[in-house]
Symmetry: D3
Subunit: 159 residues, 6 copies
């Protein structure tokens, strides 16, 4: 059985993330969405909330589970017996950063492979930070994140 990891901050998850997770779930036998607990910049949502949102939105995908991790990604990947990291490649994206991380991970753990999957062009501009910025400025994030995430986001921002 081939298990792959879709890692990220997911602060918060977006429709672009769902798109990538669904593609990963068709490519591999099992998929673990892995929430990075410690993300430098203080996160808008706690790791628990980020996991909860993903669980809710991945409920329809029988071969997908959600987890969180500390420390090095490649250590976590090996720890749970996975062999592949799946990353989304947005048409407008930090391509160079993605390659740098992937090569770093290959240096640290040559047996872990990173594969890139393209998001749909519709979400090519979408990122968690854009979503947060829009919400903080009072704009609507409808169509960019799942409805339940939108509600949490609106509550969080009002605080």
């Amino acid at each position: 059985m081939r298990r792959s990891i879709v890692p990220g901050s997911f602060d918060p998850m977006t429709n672009g993330h769902i798109d990538i997770i669904e593609r990963a779930s068709r490519l591999f036998d099992a998929v673990t969405v892995a929430v990075a607990r410690n993300i430098g910049k203080n996160p808008l949502f706690s790791a628990e909330e980020r996991v909860a949102m993903l669980q809710e939105e991945c409920a329809h995908l029988p071969n997908v589970g959600v987890d969180s991790f500390d420390g090095l990604l490649v250590d976590y990947v090996t720890h749970i017996g996975a062999t592949t990291i799946v990353r989304g490649l947005r048409v407008v994206s930090d391509f160079e950063y993605e390659l740098q991380m992937a090569h770093t991970n290959r240096h640290l753990s040559p047996e872990v492979e990173t594969v890139f999957v393209m998001t749909t062009t519709e979400y090519s501009f979408l990122s968690s930070s854009i979503v947060k910025e829009i919400a903080l400025l009072g704009g609507s994030v409808e169509g960019l994140v799942p409805d339940s995430v939108r509600q949490r986001l609106e509550r969080q921002v009002r605080k």
Copy 2:
């Protein structure tokens, strides 16, 4: 009458900004230079100062006005009855970021169009942060910003 917006932080304005504003003033009937009041990282100049500098340097352009705004750019654009956002494209620039913002704005307000205009190659490396960095390290910003801006900048940095 077609009104366009040239938005930005302008912290401080540079000769590259003037170049873009002049080009916009030839392309559209009316141009509003719109200073973003809240720019995350603490600004070197207050929104009022940034507006004042622009007013001084745009005085020779009869169809250009200066204003400031809070909240979402596209809301402001619609609010003042404009339909176009003008952004400068430097030869060396954060092209991907510009496209991301433009697609985000199109998602939020499909009737607002973003058009990109190229700065002159002479200013292709110029940005507000470069100008601030040079001034903070004691270098001369002559030729990079208008003279009045240079004087304010030198005073500000000495503080």
Copy 3:
């Protein structure tokens, strides 16, 4: 009255071209779609056919006309009294090439401005050569070009 030019080879026109032409028609008082007659590599369609396809598909845009030209683009622009060149910027596009052409044209004719408008993300991968390649390999170009163009293309390819 501000007249702008949307230049290109249009061999053949695609839905991405229509998208850019419609955006240009909202930005400027008058728009001339200008077909380059001499395009190095031997074209699939004659200049006359390319003009005809564009005329058919731009019929619904009252301020848009179609023409063809020889020689330097900037000479043609000046000749018909236009002042602006409009180019589409695809998310996935030859950005560097576009900037090079725009700077060259600015060098040749400083009073002619090039403005860039973004195609919709849906057509971000679309180009005339991709369309031709698909058609030549027997694939369907439905949804990539207008229906009338698709029919001409299928006829042309069968030859």
Copy 4:
């Protein structure tokens, strides 16, 4: 069983291709290396020779087969019951072109997924055309292609 396709011109195959094929063979149950028969520019090696070289060099990979195809890649993918296209991403590569092809293929066949795998940094500059250029100028391609390919290449170039 998940079958993936590694398509290409392979004119000739390089060590970078082997690297990608080996990675694909670890990611998927079965892999078909698919040689595009008709490649516009007149090829240095016939499709048969290109297939033969790949067969020789993939002999040690039990789940890898070599085939050739005409027409649209996605039609071939569907025809042989595969669902995934694997493409190598070189650090120095035509990233934009790869994304354009992948989005085009997704448009033509939404159920076929393209995944990108990174070549090792050692081969980051390597391509079939570089190899041909070196050989034609009388340089040594040792270390860039398998030995058997190098010998064929030297023979071919001497003609």
Copy 5:
């Protein structure tokens, strides 16, 4: 005698830095590795420690010296009688940022030339921040930095 400067934060130095310094030492009669004392974000190592690490690792290069500087780089370059700045160009790197800095420096001091040298592909993904990130997450930086640097880094991180 031609003296060149290899400037940087070196927080900490990596094997990629050594690679560039060695290349510079073959290109120029004399090389000064220049540590920027004030680097905005609070550094992991003091300027003195960063200088000490470089001195240790450059001991085998007879025409290389290590120094530190405050203020504008171009002022320092002129002050010590150098005429050239050497920067490493990683295959995966912030190319645009490098060009922006080089053009800024040329504007400030037209007689100082910046030359770019490529790191070996092996270190194409390597940067000081990646190294720090790995160390902070408890990973091994062996093969990425010299051994003495690795030991200091492990001590520093444990604090």
Copy 6:
């Protein structure tokens, strides 16, 4: 004595080439401008004419000579006892292609170093092909190439 090579097709040379050659002549003791004799696409000027134009325009640079070569660049570099290849980096340029060639040359001859020097921003869009295209379409190349080259070009194009 350090000798460097500035290689190219120079079909024809442009003001951007002169800019790079002058920078190289300040960086190295001796500079050989090396004209590639066999350039695939049929050249506009013969190798002899390309050499002659360069000789004329480099006459004011006492440490610069002009030569032509066949075969692999790195073989030629070694043959004449040089150790460095100098390439211009235009702000708008085929950066990826330059890196690919430089890494290929490093693979073929590890002791030959490629250094990149930036053209002035003024010529950032300039290339031999742009110059030829303008001339062939009847435009003026004044300010893009030296006067003597312009005259030859006009004569050549009239043929």
